[in-house]
């Protein structure tokens, strides 16, 4: 029995119940821990957070070279990046006003589109979390998988927003900032989705728009389309390109440990794979 138990009197008189519970618990068949199944499920969960609204999602494990393509995942554990050593006030930590970085934008079929990464700082307590949640609501943002405001405590949260033409922005991915995004890994998390800019139905279900995040040590990737053509995505220079018609590039995103890139397949083609081309 625990040494610092607050009220032992009930435990003493209910020791018989504890005994029965112990006996009942022994009835379960323990079996072998299904480690591999847990691992697969954990990896799927990790990838799913980043692919909520995407047509397809994958994580590619490995360094340079050919990459696996599947609904499967890779990547390691680690989820939350508590900003406990950041600047002191919630405002400085961007708890109530997010940082926003446009990582791609162009005109396609006569419609402008752009992708913006929105990063909210980590609230430190219930009050901050509640106000942050209400502020997110003002932006039309709902953090996926959270039920109450306190679920946000200690977590910076990223939303990837897509705007097409005059349509209201849509969240295409969201999830807590993952510190392991900057641990030197050559894993790439990528999601592809259709981009509806053309004639109704013309885009079909093809995943033309590719959104990915990479470790900051990765300096270039290449997106390959289903017809074998590809587009190089180098690291953007400092201050390179804001506004529309951004060329595909890996870009730093304020508040995100990972860098981000976006590339768009020509109409009629779709995403096939992405590979790391160079590291620092």
């Amino acid at each position: 029995m625990s040494a610092n138990r607050e009220t032992d009197h009930g435990m003493t008189t209910d020791a018989d119940i504890a005994l029965l519970l112990a006996q009942a618990a022994d009835e379960v068949e323990i079996g072998t821990a299904p480690y591999q199944a847990v691992l697969r499920g954990g990896r799927r969960r990790k990838a799913r957070r980043w692919a909520m609204a995407a047509a397809a999602a994958l994580v590619i494990a490995g360094s340079t070279g050919t990459l696996a393509l599947a609904g499967g995942t890779g990547g390691d554990g680690g989820q939350v990046a508590p900003a406990v050593t950041g600047p002191p006030t919630a405002e400085w930590r961007h708890v109530y006003e997010p940082r926003m970085t446009t990582v791609a934008g162009a005109r396609d079929n006569g419609k402008d589109w752009y992708v913006t990464v929105v990063v909210w700082g980590a609230p430190r307590n219930e009050a901050e979390a509640q106000y942050q949640r209400s502020q997110m609501g003002e932006y039309g943002l709902t953090p996926t998988g959270t039920e109450v405001a306190s679920d946000l405590i200690g977590k910076s949260w990223i939303f990837v927003r897509l705007v097409v033409g005059d349509e209201p922005p849509t969240t295409v991915q969201d999830g807590p900032v993952d510190k392991s995004d900057a641990d030197g890994s050559t894993d790439i998390e990528v999601a592809s989705r259709p981009l509806e800019t053309g004639r109704p139905g013309a885009a079909g279900k093809a995943g033309r728009l590719v959104i990915g995040k990479v470790d900051p040590t990765i300096r270039a990737v290449t997106c390959t389309w289903d017809d074998g053509t590809s587009v190089p995505v180098p690291m953007a220079g400092e201050g390179a390109g804001f506004g529309l018609d951004l060329k595909p590039a890996i870009r730093r995103v304020a508040g995100s440990p990972a860098n981000w890139f976006v590339c768009l397949a020509p109409e009629g083609r779709s995403y096939k794979s992405v590979r790391v081309d160079s590291l620092t």
């Binding site: 029995m1 625990s2 610092n4 138990r5 607050e6 009220t7 009930g10 435990m11 209910d14 018989d16 119940i17 504890a18 005994l19 029965l20 519970l21 112990a22 006996q23 009942a24 618990a25 022994d26 009835e27 379960v28 068949e29 323990i30 079996g31 072998t32 821990a33 299904p34 480690y35 199944a37 847990v38 691992l39 499920g41 954990g42 990896r43 799927r44 969960r45 990790k46 957070r49 390691d76 554990g77 680690g78 989820q79 939350v80 508590p82 510190k179 392991s180 641990d183 030197g184 890994s185 050559t186 470790d215």
Partner: protein
């Protein structure tokens, strides 16, 4: 990254293998059913995997795992009330009254406790399991359930009171689990 990742994976594997039996027993008491227990533990560990970098280095990873499991159990209860409350009895046949002198009969006695436990509202069940099986303090149970110490006290007391009036359970209690 390779070495760090491998080390973390090895650490997580060791955690899973080492904690699996205990977690299975707790999950069995919470769900009242073998497969639901396996499912609950697996779901819990999958979520722990996602946060393992943080959990593995925490002072008390057990507390985090308990919290995840209780949350997962609560979510399932909200989703599929009957499925997870009641132990399966899909034979459609009446249960026979066991001879209490044989091992199978005694197993059924313990089944009666599981049945009684499964009949409790989920918060009462969680409080009873955490306090009397996991042997947690009220504060620790409150942390796992995400509620106040007072709520734990109240739920545990109500749960125990209900278990004590279950027909047959009193006899089991008096004879240390055997009629």
């Amino acid at each position: 990254m390779g070495d760090r990742k491998q080390a973390r994976d090895a650490e997580f594997q060791s955690f899973v293998v080492g904690r699996w039996p205990r977690l299975m027993r707790t999950a069995f008491l919470l769900t009242g059913e073998q497969h639901a227990a396996e499912d609950l533990v697996q779901t819990t560990l999958e979520q722990v995997y996602v946060a393992w970098r943080r959990v593995g280095s925490a002072d008390d990873p057990e507390a985090y795992v308990r919290r995840v499991m209780i949350n997962a159990h609560a979510r399932r209860h909200r989703r599929k009330l009957k499925e997870f409350l009641a132990p399966r009895d899909d034979s459609g046949l009446n249960r026979e009254v066991p001879d209490s002198s044989d091992p199978i009969g005694r197993a059924d006695d313990r089944g009666a406790l599981i049945t009684a436990l499964a009949g409790l509202p989920p918060r009462q069940r969680q409080a009873v399991v955490l306090r009397y099986w996991e042997d947690l303090s009220e504060s620790q149970a409150a942390a796992a359930m995400g509620c106040s110490v007072g709520s734990v006290k109240s739920n545990a007391a109500k749960g125990i009171a209900k278990l004590r009036v279950v027909p047959g359970l009193g006899d089991m209690v008096a004879h240390g689990g055997r009629k």
